[in-house]
Symmetry: C2
Subunit: 497 residues, 2 copies
């Protein structure tokens, strides 16, 4: 290994360490920290992330990246070292485009907007949030001007989360999904009962049941945790330190799918090639690919009939009140299709419609066609159009999500891309594993995890999302058809189940 | 405020943030981290602490310290800013004496010695630990050569934990304690029964009981936590984020005093003047002064008759098996005096004898009079001499403590100094609060906490330990007599209780 590459790797390893420390601060803040520790924690996180940025955008990293060009050309594109250099150069060039002053302003205005948003939600009044939103929106547009411009300024935002993907490509996928999903919602007919998901579900028993699921999914003993939090997330500092969270309520069972969702993220971390540890290649190639896996384990596993055929008796033993609910009723209930107001409560069919609404509004915001002040009216109209629901107040409408407090445009679409990708990948795994349903029923998740690990997880951030998809399943574009087909089959099956 | 002072403060605030982050990493590692996260955590902590050191010993900090000299002279000695400058200069000059290579070697050899120590304890064989101990010992002696030399090289070690205190001063205190404590052990006579501390004590009930104690001690709601760990400790990132730990076993009640001990540390953090937050003045003036408070809340409160007169009925309600044990029997049991092998299990009388043995051995190690290889024999002889016990194996002897894995000479004596200081300060508080016993019985800890906060805690690290003691109680030296008097009275009382 050349001295320059060794030097570059050492610097990147140290930056990875500091990002890991930042990750621990964030995890602690959201799971363990006494609430009054928040102001000091904000300062510590800001100092540490400023330091990470400063070290990463240094001229020295640029000089080393230049020095290793001949080496990179000699190494094959797929080698770990060439990928490290390539991905680091892409990250570095993007990071260099943002003046420190602008990054700091974005962080500062986001913090203020978060506070205003909490107040506005409490007051159910968008106007409380508007001035802060306007400021963070303006900073975000200034940021977009610094970035490489594709066909539209929205591309710059999208590129943060789906490197290489264009607004036009996302739009093409969503243009297929929009009418088809609306049609499937109609086909689904009257929503099934799911009243049995509410009731008396002691948290310790939920925890015990979930512990068994995570163990069976294939997490390595002594290398992960599952903790309660308010807004569930997963994070990881190395493939043997994976932190997942869920939200328990003693009055319903919805923690189960939140936990399986985060477990899907967790498995993508566990599956990264150990050789990529302590490098910037540890992680997922994009948010959409990451989300495809959280959705796979939450929905394709965790809402499947095969899975519950095996697991439901155990759940009934944990919660005897479910003995009155038969498997078919349970299966229909947990897959209930019903247009609603809240994205995070949405079913598999309507979920992507919530996303499409946000994607359309974001594009209008970024292009200037829609002013932040006009967002509530536009929101309410779009929800009526796409989901047929009347928004009763801003808290259950435009204020429901945290993402716009930091003007994180381009983030939402990755959720729907993840839905489409999840089934696109799953279809290929199903062909590889003809006994998959029987395995899910038997609680044998090893072959599924191994297939996904080998195809997808092990690559980490080595390749672009589309290069990764190519290696995983031989496709080089997102195809929404398998997802639509899966939903149609499922909806049809629910009616006859 | 001058620009130089503002710049200095900003740099120190950022260093404080990074040290806080390091503290979170350490807390997480000892309470929450999945065990397989350890190697990555070691790397992250090493990177972050290297960075803290690098930023602190920078020429820039030195230049700013020079620039603020005129300002410092204008400000009064007791002002926050003059104290900040003075303490920072002391810390900076000490840190600058240690070459980065030596600091790294010490950290590295300590890590290896820790692993060897764990193996040696398991094997009950000191020889497994010896080679690693020898290496870390040699590094520590090289370190001492870099430091300012007082009358003895041991002064350099001591100065790390008790700034300004000399080996001769410690020795003078211990020369008084040594024969007197031995005499008190004899006076104590036959050890009381404490069999009732072992039994069936469900951890959740211990937690609930302790939660009530911490609340009553005066911790601010939403600003602290108490978690289980293997070796209890307390840490804090700001005065509204205090993390305490204890060690629960379902088979005994010893977690109570471990928790009250750590709560004492926690209260010293909570009591620091808020103006000293996010500066190097946040914390305790010395380990001895810190320990004086953990011992106060553990022993002077938590093993007092007054405290249990009020609290024992509640404990009996939590653990009904204690209804067969009357208050006097309980009080005698929790204050049982009996020479033993293990420091952390020692009672109030014999505890300091364990420390004196280590202090004497450390001085011989540092002077070269004792070779590391000869430590076990010297240990066993000293334990026989001071405590009259036969050491059956190295695990229950010379290998019992972790401190020498990092050659942290000078650390142990602060425990015994803390014992002496605790009563020295307590006597003055008793004069101020004539109703203290009645308050402890009533569970009213407010006046006690307020007195200690006002006298001691609020100063943080502003002053040297002796300057702090002077401000707290008007004394300028450690006086072991109040402590001896307290023990004699207590032992006499136990026999007639």
């Amino acid at each position: 290994m050349s001295a320059a590459l060794a030097d570059l790797k050492q610097r990147l390893a140290e930056i990875h360490d500091l990002e890991g420390a930042l990750g621990v601060l964030g995890w602690d803040q959201r799971t363990m920290m006494p609430p009054k520790g928040a102001p000091a924690r904000s300062e510590a996180s800001a100092t540490l992330s400023g330091l990470v940025h400063e070290r990463f955008v240094s001229d020295e990293i640029g000089r080393l990246l230049d020095e290793v060009v001949p080496l990179e050309e000699k190494l094959g594109h797929d080698s770990d070292d060439a990928s490290l250099i390539r991905v680091t150069r892409r990250d570095w060039e993007k990071a260099r485009r943002v003046p420190a002053e602008l990054a700091a302003a974005w962080a500062r205005e986001s913090g203020k907007a978060h506070v205003a948003w909490l107040e506005a939600r409490e007051a159910k009044d968008f106007s409380v949030f508007l001035p802060a939103l306007q400021r963070v929106h303006d900073v975000a547009l200034r940021w977009a001007e610094c970035m490489e411009q594709g066909d539209s300024p929205y591309d710059a935002f999208l590129n943060e989360y789906e490197p290489g993907m264009t607004t036009a490509e996302v739009k093409a996928v969503f243009d297929v999904l929009r009418p088809e999903l609306t049609a499937i919602v109609r086909e689904a007919g009257e929503p099934a009962d799911d009243f049995f998901l509410e009731g008396d579900f002691p948290i310790e028993i939920q925890q015990e049941f979930l512990a068994g699921i995570l163990r069976d999914f294939g997490f390595e003993e002594g290398a992960y945790r599952l903790d309660p939090t308010v807004h569930p997330f997963a994070t990881s500092f190395c493939r043997t330190d994976i932190r997942m969270t869920t939200r328990y309520k003693p009055t319903n069972l919805r923690s189960l799918w939140a936990a399986m969702h985060e477990a899907g993220h967790g498995l993508t971390y566990q599956g990264v090639d150990p050789a990529l540890g302590r490098t910037p290649l540890y992680g997922n190639a994009s948010l959409g690919l990451g989300e495809s896996q959280s959705r796979s384990w939450e929905n394709l596993v965790g809402r499947s009939l095969a899975f519950w055929r095996g697991r439901y008796p155990e759940l009934q033993r944990h919660f005897p009140q479910l003995e009155r609910v038969d498997l078919e009723t349970w299966y229909r209930g947990i897959n209930r299709v019903a247009p609603g107001l809240i994205r995070v409560d949405a079913d598999e069919v309507t979920y992507s419609l919530h996303i499409i609404a946000r994607f359309e509004l974001e594009q209008e915001l970024v292009s200037g066609a829609l002013a932040p002040a006009d967002l509530p009216d536009a929101w309410n109209a779009r929800m009526q159009e796409l989901l047929g629901v009347d928004v009763p107040d801003d808290a259950r409408g435009v204020l429901q999500d945290v993402h716009w407090t930091r003007a994180a445009y381009g983030y939402f679409p990755t959720y729907a891309l993840g839905n489409a990708l999840s089934v696109q990948i799953w279809r290929v795994v199903q062909q590889e594993l003809p006994d998959l349903d029987a395995q899910l029923e038997a609680g044998e998740f090893g072959p599924l995890y191994e297939s996904l690990r080998e195809r997808l997880y092990r690559h980490g951030r080595k390749f672009t999302p589309m290069e990764t998809l190519e290696r995983a399943i031989g496709a080089n574009a997102i195809d929404p058809q398998p997802y639509l087909e899966y939903l149609r089959e499922k909806v049809a099956g629910l009616q006859t189940a």
